[in-house]
Structures are given as C-alpha cells and as structure tokens.
Symmetry: C2
Subunit: 248 residues, 2 copies
Amino acid sequence: MNIEAVVFDAYGTLYDVQSVAEITEEAFPGYGEMITQIWRIKQLEYSWLRSMMQRYRDFSVITGESLAYTLRILGLQYDDAIFERIMEKYLHLDPYPDVMPTLAALKDRKLAILSNGSPGMLNALVANSGLDRMLDATISVDAKKVFKPSPDAYSLIETTLGVKSADVLFVSSNPWDACGAKAFGLNVAWIERVTPEAMALDCVESELVAPLTMFKAIGSQMDELGVEPDHRIRALSELPKIVAIHES
Amino acid sequence: MNIEAVVFDAYGTLYDVQSVAEITEEAFPGYGEMITQIWRIKQLEYSWLRSMMQRYRDFSVITGESLAYTLRILGLQYDDAIFERIMEKYLHLDPYPDVMPTLAALKDRKLAILSNGSPGMLNALVANSGLDRMLDATISVDAKKVFKPSPDAYSLIETTLGVKSADVLFVSSNPWDACGAKAFGLNVAWIERVTPEAMALDCVESELVAPLTMFKAIGSQMDELGVEPDHRIRALSELPKIVAIHES
C-alpha cells in the first residue's frame, strides 16, 4: 500500500496561528496572548456550530466574527483599521521552519493542503509564503460549504487529487482534525506542535496551573473522540520515514 | 400568536453545571474550578465534533470522555471511585432557585426540557430534583442521534409535543443553543446566567484579565453566529411576562 499523496492541514500545522500574538499584543498591549487563545477557540467553535446549524459562511467571515467576539468580551475598543490589520495577519502567517525542507523531501508524491480556510485566504497565504510552488493543490472546504471534521470536507481530497483515501497520508496538528480524518478513513499523522513537556514548562509556579497554558492545552492535546491517529510525530521531518513505512 | 409550549434547555439553564465545582474541588483540592471549566468546554466540543464526524455516542459517554480528557491534561491521578463520584454529580445537579416558581407560574402551558443529555441522565436528574412532576415531557436529542444545534434536534419539540415552532418559546442560557434554536425557527429567550458585570467583579486586579474568568466568559456571552435570540432575560421569572407579550 503506497502513499500517493500527502495532504496537510494549514492553520496550526503548516502555519503558526500563534504568530498572530505579536500583532494582537502590539495593538492591545498586555492582551496579545489572551486574544490569540480566545480567538482561536471561538473560530473553531463557530466553524462547527455554523456547520451544524446549516448556516455556513466562509472562514474569512467566521474569523472576523470570532475576532469581534473576542475583543468584545475583553472589553477592548477598536476601530476598523486595527481590526483589519489583525485580520490581515491571517494572510501572512509564518510557516513553521520544518515546512519547506519537508515538502522538498516529499516532492515525488502529490502534495496538497486541505483547509477550512476560504479560497481567498488560502490562495493569499500560500502565495505570500511561497508554498504555492511546492503544492499540487490547495483545497478549501468551501466547495462543500461545510467545515472539517465533516466527512464531506475530507471527501474533497479524492475528488480533487484523484487519489483514494487508503493511499493518502493526512497530516494535522489539530487533534479533532486528526480524529475526523481517521474516522473518514484516511491514514493520519498527528503532529504534536505543543508537547506536554513544553506545557509543563509554561506553567506559572505561583499557581497550581496557569490558566492561559490550559487554553493552549485544550487546543493541542489529543482528544477523547473514540478514534486515534495512526502516527504521532513531533516534527514534519519525520514524514518521509512514515511514508517509507507504508511501502515496506 | 400564542405560546402554547415553553421548552427549556437543561444544563446551565435549569440546572447549575457550575455546581460540579464543589465535588471536583473536594476530589482535587485547588483544581475544582479549572476542572469544571475545561470539562464543560470539552463536553460541548465533543458533542459538536461527534455530530459532525457522524460518530454519535450518547451524552453520558461524552461527559465521561471529556472528564477523562480534563483530568489527563491537568496531570491528575485518579481511581474509578473518584471518577464515578464526579460523574454521579451530573445526576444531582442543583436547579437554579428561580426554576420551581417559574414552572409553577407557567403551568397553564405545556412545559418540557429539550436537552443533549441521554435519557438515563435526564430521567435521573428530573426525578432527583422533583422537576418530573412539573414537566409534560423530558426530550432527549438521543432519539435523533445528533446533538444541538442540529435542526434535527430541535425538530423533536414539534414531533413530541405536537406544537408548531411558531407557538414554542425556547429558553436557554447557552448562547450557541439560543442561536441554534432561533436559526431553526423557534421563539427564543436567552437567559444571561453570567452577566458582564459579574464577570468584571470576578477579575483579579493584579492581572489585566483573569484567565479563569475568560473560560467562563467564552461559554456564557452571546455569540456572533449571525442570528439573535428574540429576548434577553436575566431571570426565569421574566418568562410569564414574555409569554404574555406574545399574546397581545
């Protein structure tokens, strides 16, 4: 059984969504980290809730609505210019350092992104980061008007790339995404971008647990959803080895 | 247009889910509040994710899995007896003080619960709290094998009570539930169980924002989901007045 295509989640997997903390901190000193964590949690919640409510709007709308929510509950005042500057960061997220070398090492396979992002957001992001030259396809769930982890979203891999699920390795740092892909029938590698060790170091000693660390934890630690990814990795550089295992 | 039935969400609306903090604090001193907040967030996340993944399991399973997740990421050791004692609390949650008087005041309408809870959990809960004598029906989404805010879940009101959506007032403290019910077509009253004022008082002065307060905020403040409930109330005792408004 060969891995013909390696398909990546974008936000949190190839691109560091935590890198928005810099600009949110600049705009709202002292609140950067808090905004980043709440924004991400609500962005995901809204994607699931709108999917279930059958009220799909694309991810740029949801990203804006979840940012508006976050600033509101924190009681922060802002004007359109600041709001747009923060939103704009989503088109210029930093790729993790292991992305380019790994894509280069896997270039004899089909390589693609499958993301909740809207086509507009994703096309800008891959162009701005130079990833467009390395990928065979950038697939947005927008074609199905439903977000991951709906099976309809994952079905776009086969219809777009022409590769069967059994021959795809899907890679995500998002535990719920790794579980959703596995439930759908893909081979799945979960990349642990935040390790329990890093989490422990993060803890403030004066408290039993630092609540902000917990915000990160609830987005980064493997979930209890009755399915398990096939592989757990800590760096994308482990992928060529995993692809080789599937061939042996 | 008359309100023929008033239908309530259970957890957080009639019953105080925050009341589990007492037993979690007793079991894990210093962690009670943190466990309570993370458990609730993940319990909801798992209900949405399993719905989307088409891997429904009933709410007692999800409640157990989200508790196991919470204790794991907090690094807490436990045995089956402690785990069961905490879970058991979900069958003995405290009703808010305004529940009994309000149900009594509305007894000339059909009164029901529509909840994500499993039939077993709900039947025990309403019996233990004496609410079974006040309600015409306790409806579990389990009949549809999907959780709120799926339209299928809300459709159970009409099929069970025989009352059209236009003649139902649905009451929930959960912002996403109020939005889901409104999107489905019910009349909706959102009860603000945690007010922004209470939130502000909660804030620890030594920090800009207390992260634990934020955990509560992201579950209790109105969401940005493109729909708005018809009514915002701060106590269930406002309901008879709202029912009367619909008749005038």
